[in-house]
Every structure is written in C-alpha cells, then in structure tokens.
Amino acid sequence: MKPQTLQPPHWPLKFLRFFLKKEYLEEIEGDMEEIFYENTERFSVGKAKRIYTWEMIKLLRPNLIKNFEFVNKIIQYSMIKNYFKVSVRGLLKSPVNSFINIFGLAAAIGFCIFFYAFVVYTFKRDQFHENKDVVFLTTFTASREGALRQYGLSPRPLGELLKQDFPQVTKVCRVEDRNVIVKHGDNIFNERIRFVDPTFLDMFTFPLKWGVSTSLTDLNSVVISEPMAEKYFGDENPIGQSILVKFTSENGKEFKITGVAKKFPSSRSFDFHFLVNFDNLRTAQPGFDFHDWSAFHQATFIQVAQPSDITMVEVGMSKYKRLQNEAVEKDWAIASFQFEPLATTHIKTDEIREDVFREGTHSNLTSIKFLSGVCILMLLLACFNYINIAISTSVKRLKELGVRKTIGATRRLVIVQFLSENIVVTFFAMLFGILLGWLVVIPWFEGLWHFSMEFSLNDPRLWMYLPVIMLITAIASGIYPAIYISRFQTVTILKGSVRFGQRNPITKIFLGFQLVLACMFITSAIVFTMNGDYLANRSWGYSNRDVLYTAVADESAFQQLNDVMQRNPKVLSISGSAQHIGKTHQTTVLHFPDKDFEADRLAVSPSYFKTMGIELAEGREFKDFDGSDKNAVVVNETMVKNLSWSNPLGQQFRIDSITYEVVGVAKDFHSYSFFSLLKPAFFTVADKKDFKFIALKVNREHEQSAFEDLKKSWVTLYPEIPFNGGYQEDVWGNYYEQMGIHGHVWRVFATVAVILAMLGLYGLVAINVSGRVREFSIRKILGADYKNISNNIFKQYYGLVTVSLFVGGPLSFFFIKSVLDFVYDYHMPLTIWVVVIAASLLVAVVVITVATQIIKVFKSNPVEGLKVE
C-alpha cells in the first residue's frame, strides 16, 4: 500500500471555501483540521479523510453558507416550485401525451447527440499531433484539363533543398511508399511499406509502445504499427525480431524491428504500417535518382519553428518552380507551390490529389451539412408535436389559468410558467435522448460504417452543447403555446365563453408541415432502397460476375499460371494485361495537332475484350497474333463523345512520339464505381513482358471452385509470394455494402420521421375525440353507425391530408432528385411513382392512426360517455 500523506484531502476544502461565509472560514477550517489530526491518531488515515469529507458536506447549512444572489431570487420566486409541481402532475395525468412529447423530443435529441459526436470526430482528426501547426505538407498546383488542381506530390530534390536554403525550416521528412512482400516465418503477406526520413517520428506524434523512436537512423531498422505487430508476432513483444522485406522477387533485405507504435487514435488521416529509413530506397530500387526534378516523391513534409515562418518559405519558392518547369515537359508545368498545415489538411483531402493520406479519408463536410439538416428537421417535427398537443390540451387548463391571473399572475408570469413546464419536459426528454444517442444511434452508425468515433459522455463540451440544445428546444417548442394561452382575458375564461383548441389554424399548419416532412423522408427511403437494387443490377459495361483476376509478378509468372489454368475445364478464356479494369490504369496525355487530351490507358492482350465481356460498338478488336496492332487503339464511347468525333475510326493521335490510330470503339464501361462519372479511356495492345494481371473468364456455375483452383495453383507455383487476386465483382471492395448502407440509413430516418408525425397526429386526434365524447355518445344513442362516426372524425383531416400531399408530393420529388444527382453520377431514372407509393404509405398510416380512435369511440359505452363530470 502506498503511504498516505498526513494531510486533509484537498478538494473538500476548496468546496468549503466556495460555499462558506468568509467570516467563518478561518475558525471552521481550523476546527476541521484539528479534528482531522485527532482522528488520524485514533483511526487509519483513510478513515480520517472520509470523516473529514463527510463532515465538510454536513457543514452545508443555510446559516453557514454564503448568500448567493441567484439562490435568493429562486426563493423569492417560490412560485417556480409550484410550477414544477403542477407540470409534473400534468405529465402524470396524461401519460399518453407526455409519452408523445418526451419520446419525440428524446428521439430528436438522440440524433443531435449523434450529430455532435460525428462533428467532434471529424474535427479532432489529426489534432493529436503536437506539431500540427508547424508541420506542413508541400503541395503544388497545376493546370490540368483546364482547371487549377492541387497535388500532394513534390519534386524529388525539393526536400533537401528546402532544408539547405531556408533557416526557418527545421526539419524535413520525405515519404515514399512501395508495395512489397513481407515474410516472417510462415507469415507471408503483401504489404505497403513507407520509406521516411528519420525525422518522421519527431514531426508526427506517434508514440511507441515498445522500442526507441531514434532507431530509424539505422538503415536496418523497421518501426511497425500495433496491428502489424499482432499480425506477425501475436501478443509477444517483437523488438529485436527480424522480418524479410522483398522489394521484388529477387531483391530482398532483412530488417530488425526496433519499434512498435501505440494504437493510433481512431480519428486520423495519416498513419503507417511499416517505417524504414528513406535511404533504403537505394536498395529497393537500384538507380533511384534522388535529384531528378522530373520525378516526384509521394510527399514532403517540412517543419518550421513558428507557424508564421511559413510565409517566408512560400515567398522563396519561385526559384524551385523554375527549376521544376525546366525539367519537365510543357504539359506538366506547375503553377505554384503551396504549404498545407497538418492541422487542417484533413479538411482538404478531397481536393488535394494523390496525397499520402489514408484511402477513404473524406472531409465529411457534406455529411455534416446533411446530418445537421436531418437533425434540425427531427427537432422541428418533435417541437411541432409539442406545440400542437400543448395548444390542444390547454383548453383543460383554462380554469387554472383564470385563477392564477385573478390572484395576481401577470401575463409575463404565465409565460414563465408555461416555459418552465416545458423545460421540465425537455429535461426528461434530454435524459432519454442521451441514452438513446449513446446506446442506440451512435453504436448503430458506427456498426454500419465499421469505425469508432470514440464518443464518451466524459466530454465537457458535450455538457455545454446539451443544455444549449435543451434550452433552444424548450423555448422553440414552448414560446408559441405560452404566448397564445396567456393572451386570454381572465373574465372571459372564468365566464367559460372561450372556445378554442379544436379549430386552431396554426395546429393544422404544423400538422400539415409534419406530414410534408414525413412524405419527403418516406420518398427518400423508397428511392434509396430502389436505387440500391437498381445499381446492383446495372451493367458495368463488362461482365463482373464470372471473371477472376490476380496480379502476377512478370511475364514468366503469367506464362506459368496461364499454362496451368489453360488445362482447367472450368476456365473459358484467359487474358493478360498491364492494367486491369477496377485495379489500375495509366493516366496518359494524348497529343492532337491542335490540342492535348487526358485519358486512362489500359494495355491489354487482344483476347481481353472477350474475357472481360466488353462489347464493341464500332470497328474491330485487336488481331490476335504476336506483334499485331502495335499502333492501334480501341477507345470508349465517352472518349468519342468528349472529343466530338463524328467518325472515330481512323482518327489519329500521338503519345510521346508514337502515332496511334483508332480501330474500334468499345461500349462504355465503368472503370470506376458508379459514384463517379465515366472517364475517357482507351486500350492498346500490351507487350507480353509488361503483363501485370491475368484475367480468367470461368463457367458461371463453377466460379467458386475455379477460384479455389486458381488459389491452389498459385500456392504450388509460388509458395513464397502471397496471392493477390479475387472476384472481379469485389474490386470495388465494399461498394455494394455502401449502397445497402445508404438505403438502411434512409429507412431509419424515414421510420423515425413517420413515427414522430404519427405520434403527433395520434395525440391530436385523441384529444379531439375525448373533447367530443358527449357528442359521439348522443350520436350513437340516436343510431349513428360506424360510417357516420368515421365520417365525422375523418372530415376534419380530409382537407389537411390532401393539401399536405399536394404540397409534399412535388416537393419530395424535387428534393430526392437533387439529392440523387448530388450523390450519384449514375442513378435510376426517377418516376412519379415513387412519390405515389410514398404518399399512399403515408395515407395508410394516417388512416390506421385515426381508425384506432374511431374503434375506441365505437366500442365505448355511450352511457359512460354521457356520465362525464
């Protein structure tokens, strides 16, 4: 046990000093201390401390504590106490209405909490780096395809020159990634390793779990991430172990593990798996030219002493621009250099091209805008429910109001009363909302996208945000009913001549607005679900259901695998290629006499079209013999369109110095996912020695077993090289899953919105019906049947629902159209039918809601109804 200091604990004393009257402080503090020391002689120190703390708390007596101004005020307004009592009683008296109010607000607040967590997650990204304000990413801007674009690359010699030429630049770190094979014992995997200058671990805050951060100066050390340590070594400490890194099939090097990074914070846009010294590039790629201005490093980071120093560096960048532009062709000239601070780079990752940041890092700004919209709508829906129910039920409270006014309540006090009641309701709603957000909404969202927002309730800013939300909600929902109700004159109330609540136009407008919103949410849910199905079945322009592919090291590897798989009866055709649809392409500049044009190039073997199922619109495929069609290209339809060729066949252009001629036009195919636009692309014949991929068309029924065969042959041929292939339909990874998620999210939003709107409607109808119990009882006694009573109740809602649908329908249509156009470049054709379906669903729900009340009325005994009061 650690020795305990013989001193009274600190925090109770601070607490006491805050609350106790100043003039008593010295005496009581002294007394307490004396008793404490006395107790330490009799009891253990721990117990003495506990007694001390407990005594401190018991000192909080009215005549000992300070007179706090606000405390006095509250005591003065002892009416407030009465308000709270009345509001709690009110809540208990009509549990259904209370439930509707509290549940509605809670659901909305739950979404707000989730929204908060998401915003915090987004903006705390990369903020854990201690040097986030003084570390900058070097970027350049260049004019491409007519627009100024920003690139995260930097010319190779730039880093060293910056260090030499600017005293402000204290540290420089160059980053270069390579795909390699990593081997340790039986573990062989494809990995991406990062070559960095030893300054890396100084500039970025990635603390190590094991090992020393300075070890990167050693050419033979490697620092790995925690997941990699687990992957290769399990739970044991791998420091001192060796791994073999194979840069190519012949060229490998042993590295000793000298560091393991601690688990990275989940909100980050930049990390690593393997770090090795930058100079290892010489080993990995003999002849790598560090001084070549025409080639790029993946990234160069610089660190300056003061954030303001960066302007000095920026001013001096023009000479490097000249050096750079002298070294490269005119097409690749750059416009300027720019530095992006690490603290804010994550917001710009969508704009900066070819940066080193993690794949799938988005700025999230669109999502934040979208979610804030949804949260506000949800809050609005909940507030409307509250307002409607408050106004309708206030008729029952008119007497109370009259009495209050008679005994001296001013209008202001009545408003305060209604608002304070509202704060009680919102407070309960907030408690439930926190639980909902914390235990339901956030885990749901994290589960969908497989990430952790590291949300915790232990966040002081959350507790500032929540009361703000609570107050805004309470006032937004309470102010109108409060003003409306407090307006009535005492005399008219007590005379009983005030009639309102049932025919309030505002109530109807709010309900109508809710129905419109619900209609929009339902339409969105339907459209996203349908669109998901549509895109899943849409043609990619090639067959992706019965094609397998795998990367191969070189021509001989291709040949070996080809020979084995050729004998397999399940395989229908085999093709090699240098690039493969969905995996890689080569961005190429085409020269025409009058202009330059950028397109994606895919170098393939002549049989590639057949294997991949790409159809030709015009012209011919490549001829299938060695050395055929060396200068022929097949272009896609988008390229024909973008170049506005009326007669594409026979058109010519130059790449570098070779002239190519168009011999065929392929129908458009998606080499990117449906989230992006089709790009101009063309095929050339690949030299066999450039083959990097093998594609196999297989019998559809035997696709799985063919895949197993492929893997088996691979393992027998190359036990040392990990298999790197798959089904063509999987090249977009979780693309189909993403589609499903969109539908899922919208269905949840729609369900919540519909529930909220229906709760509101239910509340209104219930109040309306209970106010007319006697009328219905008399009708029934006089022989009214189901039809008559239903008509009577429905009559009030015909107009409202019709108007809402006529407003909501077209609105939903244009809303969802703009959302779809914004999110997807290719989506299903929108028809008016989706809105009709949504509207019918809505009507059905409305009818069911109202019908429950009709059944209740009809089942009730008219005698009971007439006995009321």
Binding site: D31, E33, L64
Partner: protein
C-alpha cells in the same frame, strides 16, 4: 420567558460554553458535548447552533491563539453574554417549577400506565 426561543440543542451548547469558560471553542465544545451525551455530533450542527445563538445575542466571541495543530488558523473562543446567562437561568427556573408542580402520584401512575 421572553419571546426569544432557545432550542433544546442550543441550550445544551450554551450550557457547555458557559461551563468551559476560556476553553470554549468549536472542537472543545464538540468533544465535551459528545462525551456527555454519549453520541457523535457533527461540526456543522455545533457551528450552526453557535452562529444562530450569536445572532440572537446569547453569545459573543473573539479570536484566540493559533496552534500548529490547526494549520495556523486561529480558534474562536465563545463566551456567554449576561443576557444568555439570564435566559439559561430562566429556563432552569421554569423547569424546576414545572418539576415541582407534578404531583408525585400522577407521575407514578403515568409510569405504570
């Protein structure tokens, strides 16, 4: 007895102050009362009784010396005012009178019943 009320607990504290004379400060009063009443008392209850009675004029107080045991803070020594002593004596008289007014038999009967 005048309008001024003296609660039962307050009376006990006041008597203790009177008995302790120069030693009458918070901790000592608490210790004395605890040993006589055979129960634990909180600092808060003693202090709030003292402060109340000071307001009502039964007690006066002045700062005494500081000791190391108290972390250098001074004691506050309480003393009864003449008014306080008068009220105490009145209370005592009233009690004695009441005691003597109880018929012996009635008391015993009550004890049996």
């Amino acid at each position: 007895m005048k309008k001024t009320k003296l609660g039962e607990f307050e009376e006990l504290v006041l008597l203790t102050v009177a008995a302790l004379q120069q030693e009458a400060y918070g901790v000592e009063i608490k210790r004395e009362l605890e040993s006589r009443l055979q129960e634990k008392l909180s600092v808060g209850s003693i202090q709030s009784a003292l402060k109340r009675m000071e307001d009502k004029g039964f007690l006066t107080s002045k700062f005494g010396e500081a000791t190391a045991k108290r972390g250098g803070k001074r004691k506050r020594i309480y003393a009864t005012t003449s008014y306080g002593r008068k009220v105490l004596e009145e209370m005592k008289d009233i009690r004695t009178q009441l005691w003597s007014a109880i018929p012996k038999l009635a008391f015993e009967l009550k004890a049996i019943g």
